[in-house]
């Protein structure tokens, strides 16, 4: 059995937890996130003939009240970097987060997910930024926890990157 620890990173309220909820059936309540700062879920993903068990560490996004606990990243094989398309600040935050991850655990595979694609008309994101990221070699996906768009794909892509 192959297991991989992956983390959900991103600013506060970008929709990390909603994405996870869309992806798995949780056993833990969301309360853990505000208390311990992390909530853990699991999802088995099939990649070809190989099955991977993804253990998702949904890490509480940094806000004014709580700092992100970087220790939770330790041992992660990859992460989903989540931003909110309707808030430009979250995209900028994503850059700093990616940088910080590289400092803390090194360059590990990640997939950049811009969430809330159902509200695409309200997006503050211009395509220039997206292309800038693409140039850097980032995998970018648009997702919507509301419609389910891009959710499975994001996790699968991350799994592929980790195993590849």
């Amino acid at each position: 059995m192959l297991q991989k620890k992956i983390c959900m990173l991103g600013s506060f309220a970008v929709g990390k937890t909603s994405l996870v909820r869309r992806f798995v059936e949780s056993i833990y309540s969301d309360v853990y996130q505000t208390t311990v700062g992390v909530k853990i879920d699991k999802k088995n993903v099939k990649l070809g003939d190989k099955e991977v068990s993804l253990v998702l560490w949904d890490i509480y996004g940094e806000d004014d009240y709580q700092k992100m606990r970087w220790t939770y990243l330790r041992g992660a094989s990859g992460y989903l970097l989540v931003a909110d398309g309707t808030r430009k600040a979250t995209l900028e935050k994503a850059f700093t987060l990616e940088q910080k991850v590289r400092e803390v655990v090194g360059a590990i595979p990640f997939v950049f997910v811009i969430n809330k694609s159902d509200l695409i008309r309200d997006w503050e994101l211009d395509s220039a930024i997206e292309s800038q990221m693409a140039v850097q070699g980032w995998n970018i996906l648009r997702s919507s926890a509301k419609t389910g768009e891009g959710v499975e794909e994001s996790f699968s892509l991350l799994a592929q990157k980790m195993l590849g």
Binding site: L2, Q3, K5, I40, V52, V55, R69, G75
Partner: protein, 606 residues
């Protein structure tokens, strides 16, 4: 080409001489002598060309051959050499090579002076020992607290009973029960990723997904470590929720967590440490390279199961039976105590009742217990002793019982005697005694009283006969009374006369009747009696005359008595003259008394 070996061999050829001679210019060689000028030239040439090299060679030889300088050379580079060796990765071989030497050195050091090594180790040993002591104390306190917690509860009471039943000490029993536990799940968690490497679960335990539990456990560890800034290896080693305990043991690569229901002993911690060590030893490489693939650890479950094995056995069935036995024993004990107490109580009352039964004037008709209350029914003579004094003297509690007395006349001698005394009120000279309903009367009493008592004694309940002592015999009393009466009689005569006055004659007839009754009484006593009739005179006149006169007076009275019916055979008349005067003749009245006749009775046995 040909000169090269020559050159290289040269120093070797010179070597023995170098060692024997000072490092100055060597003396001409013996083997150089035959070819003189040529050889000399060659030698000089060689010296000219090779002198500096030869000197350098000589110095080298000296350094190599001299142990002192060789040591100096090696000494200056030994540390760098070891460093170099280590950096080249020859670590293990070096350790292997050095280990025996170091071991011997350590042994030698300890043998020479243990103090040196002890001093060196002191800073390390102190904390290690302290930590060990702390751990020991902590585990002791843990179990001690548990025992204390339980000692006052219902469970504690049960344990006390069990201790009583089995004869073990309470502490032992309490500890044994305190240590009832079950390891439900064992997690082996990769420390860095928080992913489960292995998982073992006891039968019939509802389990969560090991991945999630492992992740959350390590997240909590991280959280605590992060929040309180403790160093690595100092995370939570125990979590407790109700009777569920999570014990965590941390190793370099992996964490072992046991989910325990109940209270586990310290031994489990040791077992966990042992298992974790074994895992680290067997899988050190795999643990180091762990990338989420659990395949290399398939067999780790067996090792983890060792944590599930440890369990203080408690047979629930046996225990419940034990409790039943204990309860039964307690009930039996209580009943026994109750019965025993009742028996003791009963015995006390029984003793009291028997004591009363033996007392005169008491009749116990029934004795029993009515709803725990003793009831004594009986009869009591009014003259019997007060029962209260017997109750007081006994060991019964008067409040535990009651007495119902009816009145009656007791026939006990003592009581009858008392009753006779109070009813008959005898004079102080009389003694009354009762034996088997027979009233014995003794002492001195009048004939009348004796007669009276003989009729009245029957009125006293319990007296069926009266027995008078001999002196109270009616015949005797009558005899004595008549005798006294007769002997006190005085028949007076005129001066120098033996004639009876009419009054005296009458008195004599009365006296005759008394003598008759005396004779009758003597008859009842089966005795005979004589009456001596004594004639007296006063002291005037001649004695011879007086004697005759006194004889005549006696005879006169005797004949008068004979005439009155007194048998003459019992009468003895005798004149005693003045020899036996009644009174001193100091006046006429007294003199008159001496002119008289008196009587004396003598009783004769048949």
């Amino acid at each position: 080409m040909g000169s090269a070996p020559r050159h290289s061999r040269d120093p070797l050829e010179f070597r023995p001489k170098m060692a024997e001679t000072p490092p100055t210019r060597p003396a001409p060689e013996p083997d150089d002598q035959p070819c003189e000028p040529e050889a000399q030239a060659y030698l000089e040439l060689r010296q000219l060309i090779l002198a500096p090299e030869q000197e350098a060679l000589e110095r080298l030889h000296q350094r190599v051959d001299d142990p002192a300088s060789r040591t100096e050379d090696v000494g200056s580079v030994v540390a760098e050499a070891i460093q170099l060796r280590r950096s080249q990765g020859g670590d293990e071989a070096l350790s292997v090579a050095l280990a025996p030497t170091i071991e011997t050195a350590l042994r030698e050091s300890v043998r020479k002076d243990p103090g040196t090594l002890a001093d060196a180790l002191f800073p390390v040993m102190g904390p290690a020992i302290r930590r060990s002591i702390l751990e020991t104390l902590r585990s002791f306190l843990e179990s001690f607290n548990q025992v204390l917690d339980q000692s006052l509860s219902v469970k504690g009471l049960k344990w006390r009973l069990e201790a009583l039943r089995t004869g073990r000490s309470f502490t032992e029993v309490a500890l044994l029960h305190s240590l009832v536990f079950r390891v439900e799940q064992v997690f082996l968690i990769h420390k860095k990723t928080g992913l489960p490497i292995g998982h073992a679960v006891a039968s019939a335990v509802a389990m969560q997904d090991p991945s999630l539990v492992s992740g959350m456990l390590s997240a909590i560890q991280d959280f605590v470590r992060d929040s309180f800034h403790t160093s690595q290896g100092q995370g939570i080693n125990r979590m407790n929720v109700g009777d569920l305990d999570v014990w965590v043991e941390e190793g370099p690569y992996a964490i072992l967590a046991c989910v325990i229901r109940g209270i586990a002993p310290r031994d489990l911690r040791d077992r966990m440490a042992e298992v974790l060590e074994n895992v680290h030893r067997e899988y050190s490489a795999q643990l180091d390279l762990f990338d989420g693939e659990t395949a290399p650890f398939v067999k780790v479950g067996g090792e983890l199961s060792r944590c599930l094995e440890l369990r203080f056995k408690e047979d629930a069935k046996k225990k419940s039976f034990g409790f039943v036995y204990a309860t039964a024993a307690l009930l039996f004990l209580l009943v026994a105590v109750w019965v025993g107490w009742r028996a003791v109580q009963y015995a006390r009352w029984d003793r009291l009742v028997n004591n009363l039964r033996e007392q005169p004037g008491f009749v116990i008709t029934s004795f029993g217990r009515d709803r725990g209350h003793f009831v004594v029914r009986g009869m009591r003579d009014p003259l019997a002793a007060d029962p209260a004094q017997f109750i007081k003297a006994s060991d019964v509690n008067p409040a535990d019982g009651e007495f119902h007395w009816g009145g009656y006349y007791a026939l006990d001698d003592g009581i009858v005697e008392q009753r006779a005394k109070s009813t008959l009120s005898p004079p102080p000279t009389v003694t009354l005694a009762v034996k088997s309903g027979l009233l014995f009367v003794s002492g001195a009493a009048s004939a009348n009283w004796v007669k009276d008592i003989q009729s009245r004694a029957w009125q006293v309940p319990g007296i069926r006969a009266v027995e008078l002592s001999p002196e109270l015999n009616p015949g005797r009393l009558a005899f004595n009374q008549a005798k006294t009466e007769i002997e006190s009689a005085v028949v007076k005569f005129p001066v120098a006369s033996a004639a009876l006055s009419p009054g005296e004659a009458l008195a004599l007839r009365n006296l005759a009747a008394t003598i008759q009754s005396l004779l009758q009484a003597a008859d009842t006593l089966r005795q005979s009696a004589n009456v001596e009739v004594l004639g007296h005179t006063d002291s005037t006149g001649a004695e011879a005359v007086n004697l005759g006169l006194s004889q005549r007076r006696a005879d006169r009275v005797a004949s008068e008595l004979g005439q009155a019916g007194v048998p003459e055979r019992i009468l003895r008349a005798r004149g005693v003259g003045t020899t036996n005067p009644l009174r001193a003749e100091d006046n006429e009245e007294n003199r008159q008394f001496n002119r008289s006749v008196t009587f004396r009775i003598s009783a004769l046995a048949p």
